[in-house]
Structure formats: structure tokens, C-alpha cells
């Protein structure tokens, strides 16, 4: 069963999941293309929003779905990426220096490595401490660290504090025009594909085998001669980096970054998206993100109380449909 994640051979089980995955990709690409042809910019940006949120969930899915680490603080990395993009754009626009010392840039290709590196370092620190705990303590301590970073971001009055920071001019990418909605969509889509490909390869590698075992039976892993702690820490850091990348893109999409990107509510939402789609399923985050953003946009258009329905759907999934949406669509409901 786990084998099926790592190879695309057409056994009866796997075929269905591959087809579902392909379908999801086709849908998510066709919508913005058709929308552009019909001059409906709104739907292009909506698709981009879905892609980016899916990517944030891909990051979490790596730690949670494949590694079994229930991190309730991943919004911290999402926000971190966002703030790096935002602060860079801010200083580049104003012509000022970050901390009065360092010039920033409005080039995405320069901003992203900084965001990734920053997320990696913070995740290393948080992970090193948190992974010494287990179970509910781990959940709580990841939450606590995220809260710390949340309150820290509120204190950044230079960058808007609680009100957040506007990005007047979207950062630039080397190819194409980042202000063109379809170009930006393509950019984000490519980033999502890359993160999915990376996830896929890593899960199928030696590292992935160790990570899977860490999740299924930690004792067996240790008895087999591999330190669970080190494996988990690396997985945690990689997962943080992917989510941070998504955060940087999110900031540029919205032209805005604020502390709510780091709230624990947001962390909960990312977990919900992973679970809605199917924990540990490679394309789960895409299905989950589509469902979530559609609920948010269309149901939210009817009523401010749309999260009531999100809650009901989530409850239903947890109690009755444990394989998430992908599980439902492929007919095998299994829990991660």
C-alpha cells in the first residue's frame, strides 16, 4: 500500500489514485486558462490562491502525513515566508535598508532563498526542541512557538504591526511579467509541481523509508539502527521550507501580509486542508485546498458564518470519511 505512493505502476488500486490526481491537475490548470480567454481575471487569481494554499498544505503533509508529526504551528512558517517577501518589497519600494544595514530586492529569485533559509533555521531550532517531546506535548509546544512568532510579528510596528504590511508593487520574476495574473499563476503552479515532485521523490527514497517507519513504528526504526529524532528533524525542516515558500507567494498574490497569516487559527486551517484532502496522500493537499477555498469563496459569499459548514464537513470527515476526499474518490478510505 505504501509502495503505491512511490511508484506509478498500474496496479488496480494505484490506477484510480493516479487518474484522480491527473484529473485534479487538469481541472486546476484549465480553469485559469479558460478564465483568461473569457477575460475573467477573478477566477485566475482564485486558482492561484488555491495553488498556493495547496502548496502550504503540501509542506505540512510532508511532516504530518508522511512523518506523523502533528505540528500545530505551521502557520508560523507560512507567515515567515510572507513577511520576508513583504519586507523585501517594502524596502525595495521605499529605497530604504533593512535594519538600516542590508539592501533588499524585489526579485523573487533573490527573495525566495532568503525565505527558505530563514524558515529552515527557525524550523531547525523549533524542531530540535519540540521533537524531544511527543504526543500532545509536541502539538502544544509547536503551537506555543508559533504563538511566540505571532506576537513577535504584531510587535513589528515598522512593518505595520497588527494592521499588516502592504506590498505596493508585486515582486518580479526573471521570466514573464509577474503582474500578469496568468503568468503569476503559471509561476505558482510550477512551484507547486516542484514541491509535489520533491515530496514524491523524498518519500520514495531511503530517507522516506525511514520517515515512514518513524511514523508507523518508531521502535522498529530505532531497533533497525536509525535515529528517529534526526530523521524527523530533517523532515520537519523540509516541510517548513515548502510552507514558507508558499507564504512568500501568498504575500505577492495578495499584495499584503499581516499577522493573521501566523495565527493558530491559520495553523488549524492548514491541518484541516491536509485532512480534508487525505492525510499522507500525495495530491491530498490539492483536493483539500480546492474544497476549502471553494467553501470559503462561494459559501462565504452567502454568509459570514460559512465556517459553521466547514466545521460540519470537517467533523464528518474525521468521524466517517477517514481517507479524506481522495480516499472517497478512489474508494479506499484509509487514514494516512
Amino acid at each position: 500500500m505504501i509502495n503505491s505512493i512511490t511508484s506509478l505502476n498500474f496496479t488496480k488500486n494505484m490506477s484510480r489514485e493516479s487518474w484522480v490526481n491527473l484529473l485534479l491537475l487538469v481541472v486546476i490548470v484549465s480553469v485559469p486558462i479558460i478564465a483568461t480567454l473569457m477575460d475573467e481575471v477573478y477566477y485566475v487569481n482564485l486558482s492561484t490562491r488555491i495553488i498556493i494554499i495547496a502548496m502550504a498544505a503540501v509542506g505540512l503533509n510532508f511532516a504530518l502525513g508522511f512523518g506523523g508529526m502533528v505540528s500545530f504551528g505551521h502557520a508560523a512558517f507560512f507567515g515567515l515566508g510572507g513577511y520576508v517577501a513583504g519586507i523585501a518589497a517594502f524596502h525595495a519600494f521605499e529605497g530604504t535598508l533593512f535594519l538600516g544595514l542590508i539592501p533588499t530586492s524585489d526579485q523573487m529569485l533573490l527573495i525566495w532563498p532568503v525565505a527558505l533559509l530563514g524558515a529552515a533555521m527557525i524550523a531547525l531550532l523549533i524542531g530540535a526542541i519540540s521533537l524531544r517531546t511527543q504526543g500532545v506535548y509536541f502539538i502544544m509546544i509547536t503551537l506555543a512557538f508559533a504563538q511566540m512568532i505571532y506576537y513577535f510579528s504584531i510587535s513589528l510596528t515598522t512593518y505595520g504591526g497588527e494592521d499588516g504590511l502592504s506590498i505596493i508593487l508585486r515582486n518580479n520574476f526573471a521570466i514573464g511579467n509577474s503582474n500578469n495574473p496568468l503568468h503569476f499563476f503559471a509561476l505558482c503552479f510550477f512551484a507547486l509541481l516542484m514541491s509535489l515532485w520533491l515530496s514524491h521523490r523524498m518519500v520514495g527514497s531511503r530517507f522516506g523509508a525511514a520517515l515512514t517507519m518513524a511514523k508507523l513504528n518508531e521502535t522498529r526504526l530505532a531497533t533497525a539502527g536509525i535515529e528517529p529524532y534526526s530523521i524527523r528533524l530533517v523532515a520537519f525542516v523540509v516541510s517548513a521550507m515548502i510552507t514558507a515558500f508558499a507564504g512568500a507567494l501568498f504575500a505577492d498574490l495578495n499584495g499584503f501580509v499581516d499577522p493573521s497569516m501566523l495565527s493558530w487559527h491559520r495553523s488549524g486551517e492548514i491541518i484541516v486542508i491536509v485532512v480534508l484532502g487525505g492525510v499522507g496522500r500525495l495530491f491530498g493537499p490539492i483536493a483539500g485546498a480546492i474544497a476549502f477555498v471553494l467553501l470559503e469563496t462561494f459559501l462565504g459569499g452567502f454568509t459570514d458564518r460559512w465556517q459553521l459548514f466547514l466545521g460540519l464537513v470537517l467533523l464528518g470527515v474525521v468521524l466517517f470519511a477517514r481517507g479524506g476526499l481522495i480516499g472517497l474518490m478512489t474508494g479506499n478510505a484509509r487514514h494516512g
Binding site: 502533528v70 506535548y137 506555543a144 511566540m148 510587535s155 484541516v272 458564518r305 466545521g311
Partner: protein, 305 residues
């Protein structure tokens, strides 16, 4: 800072700690006995406050409102336990987190549907509005009431757990869930009872604080997080740990919020000092938790060591 001011803030810290204890004791009891993480606890706090405000509004009696708040939260707790929570006892923590997170959404939005998104009016009854002198400190009567209520609750819990038969079943249940079932204890009823007690305490806390601050949707969430910090610091499953942890968090947080901005004023201008100080004060509790967990990964007084 004068002595009077320090004492006043210390009392505020104790009062805050008491309120956290009311929340944390329920949480830790539920986790200790049923092994369940309940994120919806903050929503029960909110439900209590809303019921209290509503009943106080129509009867004019704050005391009735308080009672109604605790009872209302308990009833909601029973409903939630029977419909949802009892399916989660055998599940892993992720499922529990998700399901109770879903409950937060449902209860919050549900409350907004019923009562609207504006805060409800709840005021301290006039008989409790004054202040009294305690030595050099002039302290609000109402806050003293909260402290007294908290002490009474702590005492009551202690007596319940150590002196009654139900308490005995609870303690046995904390140690060995399978065994008490084998001994003929009705586990379903026991669990529902424990959940209801936890809910009632949360509802009581919400009602008491509602009169001090405001009664609005989402009021339980910041408190919930702090309550979790308290039980993690104190040791999950330990009521003693919840009490000590709550006092620690309440006092450190309150004093931190007062002292840190003042501290930063030594080398920053007032507005910068205020924001940096209050940001750091908010982070302080989490820092404390991280340090404690680094040294004692299961908290200060873990129930099963």
C-alpha cells in the same frame, strides 16, 4: 513601582491565575481520565458567558446568571460529549484535535447565528462594584470574589476527587481505564460526568470574566491556548499541576505585562517601549513553557511518571 502597585498587580495575577485554573482543571481532568485533548473547551467558556449574560439580562439577577452560565455550559458539554466526544476516545490525538477544532468552528459560528456578532451586555452587579482596602492596596471587590470562588472550587475539586466515591472512580480511571470497566464502573456515565464538570468550570470562568471584560464570540480562544500552556507546564492529568501552573502563568503574565514596558522605557522612547514590552510580555509565557519542557518534557507534576 510602588509597593501598593506591585501588590495590586500581584493580586491581579492571582485572580487571572484562578480563572486559568478553572479552565485548566477541567482540561487536565478530561485529558487525565479520558485521554482526550479538548480544543472546544474555550467554546464552553464562551457558551457559559453567553448564557450568563442572557439570563442576567432577562432575570436581572447576576447570581442566577452565574448559575445558569455554569449549568448551561455543563448541558452543552453533555450534548457535545454524547454526540461527538465519545466517538473520539479511541482515536489518535490528531483526530481529537481536528474534531474538537471543528466543534470550535461550529459553536462559535452557531453562537453568532443565535446572538448576532455584537458583544452581549454583562455588567458587575452594583453590590459588588466597589473596592475595599487591604492594607495599602485598594482592590475591587469583584476581583476578590473571583479569587474566593477559585479557592472554593479548588477545595471542592480536592474534596470531590479525594473524598467521594466518584472521585475514587476518577482516580482509578486515570490510572487504568480498562480495569475500572472490568470492575463494573459505568465508564460512559463517568466520562460524561467528568466532561460535564469540566464544562461547568469553563462556563463559570467565562461568566465571571464576562462581567469584567466583554461577552463576545471568540472570547474563549486566547484563554484556551493559555489553559493548554498551563496544563503542559503543570503536567497533563494533574490538578495540583494545573493549580501551580495556573498561578505561575497568571502571575508571570500579569507582572510581565506591567514590568516589561517599564523596563524598556529605560532605554527606549515610551511608544516603542510599550509595543516592544507588550510583545515580549505576550511571548514570555510561551518562553516559560518552552524552557520548562526542555528541562522536564512532561511538565512539572506529570500524573503518570
Amino acid at each position: 513601582m510602588t509597593l501598593a502597585l506591585t501588590l495590586e498587580q500581584l493580586l491581579n495575577g492571582i485572580q487571572f491565575g484562578i480563572m486559568l485554573f478553572l479552565m485548566a482543571s477541567g482540561l487536565t481532568l478530561i485529558f487525565g481520565v479520558m485521554g482526550l485533548i479538548n480544543l472546544a473547551h474555550g467554546s464552553l467558556y464562551m457558551v457559559g458567558a453567553f448564557v450568563c449574560a442572557y439570563v442576567t439580562g432577562i432575570t436581572g439577577s447576576f447570581w442566577l446568571g452565574l448559575l445558569a452560565g455554569a449549568l448551561g455550559a455543563a448541558i452543552m458539554g453533555v450534548i457535545v460529549e454524547v454526540l461527538v466526544i465519545r466517538r473520539l476516545y479511541q482515536r489518535d490525538h490528531l483526530d481529537q484535535v481536528l474534531a474538537t477544532f471543528a466543534l470550535i468552528l461550529i459553536l462559535s459560528e452557531g453562537t453568532a447565528l443565535v446572538f448576532g456578532s455584537q458583544p452581549l451586555w454583562l455588567d458587575i452587579p452594583s453590590v459588588l462594584k466597589g473596592s475595599i482596602e487591604l492594607g495599602s492596596v485598594v482592590y475591587p471587590v469583584y476581583r476578590i470574589l473571583i479569587i474566593i470562588v477559585g479557592v472554593l472550587v479548588a477545595l471542592g475539586l480536592y474534596l470531590l476527587i479525594s473524598r467521594t466515591r466518584i472521585g475514587m472512580k476518577i482516580r482509578a480511571g486515570e490510572n487504568d481505564r480498562e480495569m475500572i470497566g472490568a470492575l463494573g464502573v459505568n465508564i460512559s456515565v463517568l466520562y460524561t460526568f467528568v466532561f460535564a464538570v469540566g464544562a461547568a468550570l469553563a462556563g463559570l470562568a467565562g461568566s465571571l470574566v464576562g462581567a469584567l471584560q466583554s461577552v463576545e464570540v471568540g472570547m474563549g480562544e486566547p484563554v484556551l491556548i493559555l489553559a493548554f500552556v498551563v496544563i503542559v507546564i503543570g503536567g497533563i492529568g494533574s490538578i495540583k499541576g494545573a493549580l501551580i501552573g495556573a498561578m505561575l502563568v497568571g502571575i508571570v503574565d500579569t507582572l510581565g505585562r506591567v514590568l516589561l514596558p517599564s523596563f524598556f522605557q529605560w532605554f527606549m522612547e515610551p511608544s516603542a517601549a510599550a509595543s516592544v514590552g507588550s510583545a515580549l510580555a505576550s511571548m514570555l509565557i510561551y518562553l516559560l513553557m518552552a524552557i520548562i519542557l526542555a528541562i522536564k518534557p512532561k511538565g512539572l507534576f506529570p500524573a503518570n511518571d
